[in-house]
Assembly symmetry: D2
Homo-oligomer: 452 residues x 4
């Protein structure tokens, strides 16, 4: 991602963890821990450890030089190991013999990625938790705030804003669980050597892997996973689903914020969401960030999946295809989560406008309520037809549905004027909305301790 866009589409903490410098540092952390694990196993002399550790600081290295050499070598690990070895050699030629001992480029690149993910993905979880908490607040405050339910972008029957917010909360909570679980599954060491047998470590391979896993606090898998990328792919999928949910919320917010709807809008802030030419605008900038992410994430997830059929013990094009893809996806997800957490925390809700919009159709939005009340008396199809006819008349004559219904003896035979009036009130036709909201909030509070 361009530096110009990291603040807009990304998230500061995550961007920092996926900076070029941080990428090299994670690789160097692997190399230092490897030397230690190997020294402990007696495979390399203990004296090397300090020299490697001292040289294992990313600020020592010239990014441009490494980038240039990487273009030639095919990956970043080869030049970094070369530079690391040279730096160690400058102070301890003996130690330099043992840098990167028995490991292959993929060991260091994959494990470094895992370490970066461990640092970065919890930031996503943090923002998702903020978004969930903010949605819970809306659900609670607006459990009884009626608004138009909308299907196919048409007003349907009434809902409450609390119900909409509870839907957001519920989906965000599921996203948290999935991302957390997928991250846990992905936090595994990669150490296999050239072809995954650890042969260069003689009989010490598994022992060194265990020590290294323990030092890096990573699980040690049953097998090196060089060409089996499913754990990372599963994480990519979980991130993609999370972005989809954030995009859905963003879609709702952006539609509510339309000039003609005006039921909610992002918190105004100096210089935010303004237009360079239209001083009155309140552009849904946060929602746009999440929607843009929701458009981009599917391509990145698809790319990761497309890269999976990697050849034999190391993929030819598939593995390099991942290097930019997963960091970009993590950063986009973090940006979308940050943006929507901000949006939901600051969301300005206008219950009066919600209520007013329910009256826009002069009662048509309550047609189902009448239809159902009649259906008990005259059957669903007949009721449907009667109310449909009345609705068409109301539309054609621009009159309130109440007035048209009151003139129709088929209907007044079954529903008295006061009955009709009561049933035309949105508040009377909210069904289980309140109970559903309470269920979601109860579950949210039950989770509280877990994600606090």
């Amino acid at each position: 991602m361009s530096d110009l866009h990291r603040g807009l589409f990304g998230e500061a903490e995550v961007a920092a963890r996926f900076s070029d410098r941080a990428r090299l540092q994670a690789m160097l952390d692997f190399e230092a821990a490897l030397a230690e694990a190997e020294a402990e196993a007696g495979v390399v002399p203990y004296s090397c450890v300090a020299a490697v550790r001292a040289a294992a600081r990313a600020e020592h290295y010239d990014l441009d030089a490494i980038a240039t050499e990487a273009a030639h070598a095919g990956n970043v690990a080869i030049p970094l190991v070369r530079h690391l070895t040279a730096r160690v050699a400058a102070t301890d030629p003996e130690a330099a013999r043992y840098v990167h001992w028995g490991a292959t480029s993929q060991d260091v690149l994959d494990t470094a990625l895992v370490l970066q993910l461990r640092g970065a993905v919890p930031e996503i979880l943090r923002h998702l938790a903020r978004a969930a908490e903010a949605a819970a607040g809306h659900a609670e405050r607006h459990a009884d705030t009626p608004m138009a339910g909308r299907t196919w972008l048409q007003q349907a029957t009434p809902v409450t804003f609390g119900l909409k917010a509870a839907g957001w909360l519920d989906a965000v909570a599921r996203a948290q669980d999935r991302v957390e679980a997928a991250l846990a599954e992905a936090l595994v060491l990669q150490l296999g050597g050239a072809s995954g047998t650890l042969a260069a470590l003689g009989t010490h391979g598994p022992e060194i892997a265990r020590t290294l896993g323990s030092r890096l606090d990573l699980a040690v898998p049953d097998l090196p996973w060089h060409a089996h990328r499913d754990r990372l792919a599963h994480l990519a999928g979980a991130l993609g689903v999370a972005v989809g949910t954030l995009g859905k919320i963003a879609r709702d917010v952006s539609l509510l914020a339309q000039t003609e709807v005006g039921e909610a809008h992002e918190a105004p802030a100096e210089g935010r969401g303004g237009s360079s030419t239209m001083p009155h605008k309140r552009n849904p900038v946060g929602a746009a960030v999440a929607l843009a992410a929701a458009i981009r994430a599917p391509g990145l997830v698809g790319t990761f999946l497309s890269a999976m059929p990697q050849e034999h013990e190391r993929g030819l094009g598939g593995w390099p295809a991942e290097w930019e893809t997963l960091p970009e996806l993590v950063l986009l997800t973090a940006g979308a989560a940050r943006a929507m957490a901000d949006v939901l925390e600051g969301l300005v809700v206008d219950p009066a406008r919600m209520r007013a919009n329910l009256d826009l159709t002069q009662g048509l939005v309550m047609a189902e309520a009448i239809s159902m009340a009649l259906a008990v008396r005259m059957g669903k199809e007949g009721a449907h037809r009667a109310v449909e006819a009345a609705s068409q008349r109301a539309l054609a004559t621009h009159r309130p549905l109440a007035d048209v219904l009151a003139e129709d003896p088929t209907i007044t035979r079954h529903l008295s004027p006061s009955d009709l009036a009561a049933r035309l009130t949105p508040e009377s036709y909210l069904g289980a909305a309140g109970e559903l909201v309470r269920q979601v909030l109860a579950r949210h509070r039950g989770r509280g301790s877990k994600h606090a």
Copy 2:
């Protein structure tokens, strides 16, 4: 999927469950169970139930008529409910009043899909289990069968075919777990009515939902999930990852089966994998099916994710975009799993050719073994350089590496002729391969009871 290709790319059981007829039947099962649940709640008369149940058989309905009307109405539910109502009315006009009572099109379409998934996805799991078991057999039988490890499609250091098969097994087992978990999460009832409040059911909504869930043996979620598609998206992701793993195995098999490699090939069968013009060919037909699926699945997963930001209480284009996408993905996954289970069960392995190919480079594939042995004596870089030089000489002069090494005093100073010879044997440089295979097999056996 075209009927011409369902057998090739799909799987018979799954294709049957996603046939047009089966789709209608699942919808009718929902309608019948809904009538029962509503009767139990006293919302519709008990007398309706038998009439609806009797009419709820897909063979009663004209698919072409429903398809034609669906093109007009925007979905299949509207005409199906209309036809169902008409059929019920023919025998019991009173009962016809209560067909689809309080439900919306999305309730029936989504729940029907969930019912179809419940029937279909276990077929995928069954084939994955077959593939895992077959891979376990190879891992066990070939735990000590050396072959060339290959990275970047170049021979690297030796591995065993058992190790490769253990990698397949391990990844397939993870795919089983993820698909199973994602299916379990997706098996939830959809019942919300027009806007998700169940308002048309008065105060009985949640109770009816619970009864209906129980009758259909589906979990009842805290909320209707009309526009929140993350559970299905997560299942799509899990399927996509599974296909990626199957594609990876297929890639390996197809590469092993190359005329020039010849280390394994799909079981020959009359008329299978033959060419219309080249009688000697043994095309890896099963692997091609899985590779084709691995190319197509990412697009389908991406499509499902792209469809997620659905508007308000019902998506406009997003929801319909799912209707073909998820069934196609399930069918492709089933086809790939079926194909690779067959491939692995029948895989003909040629250990002699594996061993012979290890000699193709006249010892160069053992260069690392020598390099590591020297590294202990002269440092990694020096050793690497010495062996690299010897390798280049061997390449240039088309001589065995052993001969070139034996001439180089830098090397013979450290390694005696017999030492060199021993270290140039692939069997001596398999590292932890055996132990890794055993770990994977032990875990596989531990899982056995679960997926039996």
Copy 3:
């Protein structure tokens, strides 16, 4: 695509051309023409031609049997050729020797696809032409109909509905050109034999290819293109872009049709766009079809591109991955084009509601007009600030912008009351809208003869 959805998401003519039966017929057409071309070259006896031609009718063959055998053989061509040969043999055993002579499965499958595309894609062009013509009508009729321009889903400055329709027209016209050009490029014969050398035809290969191309009215490329799929990929891309444009128009229509906006809606029709529970609804069913296609097409285009790196002389998984992908994309594009042509032809436009919505902000939508007028006198930033402040006051006090502006001496110093009033009229601030519409219409008329 499921038969249940072909009418909804697809198009009847195109669906017919991609039916299983039609697919077989196209393959049989190839076989018959091949026999003729080979007879003409003296490679097969003339007497065969009639027998092959007589047998080359799809209704003679059992689709289920071919599908079952295809699952085994790896493609549909192998069993079809087998059945064709058997049928020919039943009447003329001598002729049966020469069926499919010198050709390979890919020759028949690819050429058949090209023949199907030639029949199907013009239907897309026809619907695009209808959509363009309908958009032109709106552009012409509404060249002076003011409505709110909307950016970020917020009202911005006024535009005309004619300008919006001209934008649609212009983009659809470009889509027509691109699809037409890409189709022309794709209409090439495939004939290469087993590996693309035509070796089985001896010295007659190129001559037979030319005759066959001429009989099938297809261009003969410089080379067989078995594993080079770029022409088809380019067509897929052009279709994907066309669907994107249709989706953009559908997005606009669906937003205009919102209950709260109500500026345009799809033509009402008996049973169309109605809801099963809300009699008053007018769901934008046509727009939903195009939006669903716009969500699905990118995945199909991406799949086709992903399939391109096919191995050597015939792809292993890449080629089969195309078989469902391109027909589905053609069908979806046709469905979207058909749907949007219908939508645009029937679109009910409400200029009064457009005008009324322009007043919703009590003049804020005209802020830029005032800002620009002031900017000439006091600089852009100062003017922007003054108008922004006035806008905020108007918003906060719920008063018309005109009133607030009239109170501000910074502003009234530069603009008189009548000047202000005039500049607050949307009609006064339409810029070049009229001229732009005329340009587009003139170009459309100039193209008329071409696509008539």
Copy 4:
């Protein structure tokens, strides 16, 4: 793209043109030219032009500050215009009034992108031309070099390496044409103001657009195209197809370079394609770059298409979704083209190994030749069966096909020993390969003048 990978996956010239600094410069170039065009039209005072032009140098601006403000404002244009205005104001407050006069953020961002594309895409064309030229060289040199044709990764009938290279050349040439045409179509000015009417420019809008187009050497479209992204989408598609073709060539090269095939490999270079642990390896580093691009490009193309249905006069999430997507795709395409041009220019071809591999099957690869020769005498199916049986015997007994055929009277009845021997020579069964290569080369030379 991370700086660490720009050299590996990208291309230096293109990376430079899409650097953050270059992006700002292109935007500033737009602003300066806009001021000039407006001064010429008399809309802003001529005195402004020099001040704006002087300030319009990217090195004056603080990228970090602009990035930070962009995160708040929603795009980079808003802060850049603010900083530009401030800088102009410091020297000429009067001029500062007219910075960005009448334009909107999208005008500057889109036109800047178009300017960057104009600089960058020709670099892609240049590398494609290099690749084509190199492929032409191979086609010419190896027009008569037999090698195994391979379908489904199985040896099929013989081809020539020249034929394979001609296929590469032909496809690359088509890619050049398409990218060139799509670029030409995309090189259009964006100038529409807030909603696309140019209203803020009074009656001068179209005139200023023409002048600006002329100054920037960009075509002026009939309409501003803010929310119609099809021209860029079409370019994205053309780039995607080009990458697919490069990936296909890369796939072939990587397969030819396999240790077990060894028919061609990338030019060796110091430190290139080496492994950190296996001194003998020659990893196909260039092919891996193109294959990685071929895995990533489909997702980027799909993303661009997914972003197309943008709302009304400016997209909410769709437009921002493009900002990283198209530059990344251009850079990846350039990297793939550069890599494959290098690969093809340096490709080391081993005709002897090609010939030797043709003998690997002991004649089975010539089965079709025998089959066709027999077919004329005994019918295709009978011949096919006879040769298939002989092939199976040869396989089972590990004997040359020639020997088995010689024993079979069904065959020797029709083909004499010398006839058999001649027909088992690959050189005798190359069909039209030579003629096809000549056709492609002739067309290539005919194009020469165009792309020189």
